[in-house]
Symmetry: C2
Subunit: 306 residues, 2 copies
């Protein structure tokens, strides 16, 4: 199993259909689950995709339309019933008015969860780090929808270089210095000889990154916010036949999503949030690939290792 993979739980837009559930994804980073949006039926999809409730520590809500957050009270109720977080806490990252509403709903429907629920307030106007540990950082950045809306970038921190076992042994490097050398330091032998780091190590594995661009108008500022990200998820509610509708409803087309991925220098694009007016996503795929070839279509059950 990859150390960093994305599970797609809901890829539809406002009205669920028989093909797509409302928005929900789970970023699985080294076994810790980060949910991004929580549309209705999210708890059921977690079961279906065998994602353990106990590993879910953070939920990030992009905006306060029902199709992006109405799975929250049910999920939190079930976490409360099942013991959920193994005594850990659950942090919900959302705007201030979302925190107030969700708190009210939890108080009403989710009696005494045996874990702490923390609300972390997101400022929708700025790009800022909202979660961070030794290995990964999550940043929110503004999107351009009918109401305040943000995307989320998951950026793995620089990894350690790999020691060359034989060379390290040859120079009798003490174990106490391994960490510094893996971080890039040279080694100085007892007699003062400097052994350059690249003789002792091979390069670190690449740090991966993923950006979630939820509901938004096409806007080059989005590309700027996620420049250099490896894999971009971008909503593609419509195709070129409904560009005007996309604009009026503050949504994007598949080809607009592809242009954002191209501008941001991404290596991979994932499309989702499909309007119920399409019976399949062949057209989304073709129109996006004409601009950005490495495009995939999300669907419920897709697991994408980065």
């Amino acid at each position: 199993m990859s150390q960093f993979q994305i599970n797609y739980l809901g890829c539809g837009s406002a009205s669920p259909t028989l093909r797509h559930l409302p928005s929900c994804q789970v970023v699985d980073f080294r076994g810790n689950l980060f949910m991004v949006d929580c549309g209705e039926c999210a708890q059921l999809s977690m079961r279906r995709q065998k994602l353990k409730y106990s590993r879910l520590g953070h939920i990030f809500i992009s905006h306060l339309h029902g199709d992006h957050c109405l799975g929250l009270p049910g999920l939190v109720s079930t976490l409360a019933l099942t013991g959920g977080r193994d005594g850990g806490s659950l942090t919900i990252h959302t705007f201030r008015e979302g925190a107030e509403m969700f708190r009210r709903m939890f108080d009403f429907f989710c009696h005494m969860p045996p874990f702490e629920i923390i609300f972390d307030i997101i400022d929708p106007q700025t790009s800022s780090t909202i979660f961070e540990n030794d290995a990964i950082a999550v940043r929110s950045f503004p999107l351009y929808h009918r109401l305040p809306c943000v995307g989320f970038a998951f950026e793995e921190k620089p990894k350690l270089r790999h020691l060359k076992g034989d060379t390290v042994k040859f120079f009798n490097v003490p174990i106490s210095q391994y960490q510094a050398i893996k971080s890039g330091a040279d080694f100085v032998t007892p007699d003062g000889q400097v052994i350059a780091n690249d003789r002792l190590t091979t390069p670190a594995d690449r740090s991966m990154s993923y950006a979630y661009c939820s509901d938004t108008l096409f806007n080059p500022k989005v590309a700027k916010s996620i420049e250099g990200i490896h894999t971009i998820y971008h909503e593609a509610t419509y195709c070129d036949d409904q560009t005007e509708k996309a604009r009026l409803r503050f949504h994007s087309t598949a080809s607009q999503a592809a242009r954002i991925a191209e501008m941001a220098g991404a290596e991979q694009l994932v499309l989702g949030h499909f309007s119920k007016s399409y019976h399949n996503e062949q057209r989304h795929l073709e129109e996006a690939r004409a601009i950005f070839p490495n495009t995939v279509i999300a669907n419920e059950g897709l697991v994408l290792p980065l």
Copy 2:
């Protein structure tokens, strides 16, 4: 299609499983849909079972546990988006505190539905008619759960007798009297001869009835409330192996449900609200049938014509 049939959308208990969704049923009476409880994913199940949103005029909420009502904001959002009620209203029958909470959630998540949402307040302590038209009445009655909870009885009104065409013609009965005769009146000929009603008509079809007994402790008072009802749905969260757990959690076992059906003189029993601790409902069925033979197990997708 039967004129009176029950669609089962969710037959699980508090934690949804891969086999069962949270509580939701739709009574289809002559094409008008009455939803009973509205667990998460109700709107999706309606689509799956091809139940038209536009025919849904009433939603009855038995109690305010999340697994019985958290599908409401999503369903109402979708009704608002799709135009839903064709200009008609949607009435939600619930307790006062439910109405306050749902109103708040709708105001937040469901922008400007193009139909009126009416809250009809149920008194959980009394048995009373909460909806009525020419053909059917719906009555709520107390159940015995951890918090206020009611069941619902759908009772078709007495139907009209059938005219015997030949006899009616023989006596030259004027059309203006048909309705009175179908309702049971005798006919008096112009020369004063009284023609008894049973010479002019055959008996009316039987009026059918259905009772929904949501979460409740075993209590003979429930049987009293639904005496004479044709088909009873009764929760059967547990089997005899967990009778004590049922009592502690204010739930019933399958055999307790069967005893209620027997005491009430029902003709048919439907079991639902199954605990996730059972991998199938064979045991529920056997234990109930030992007491009340005409028992069926509800499942998602079951359509039961009365």
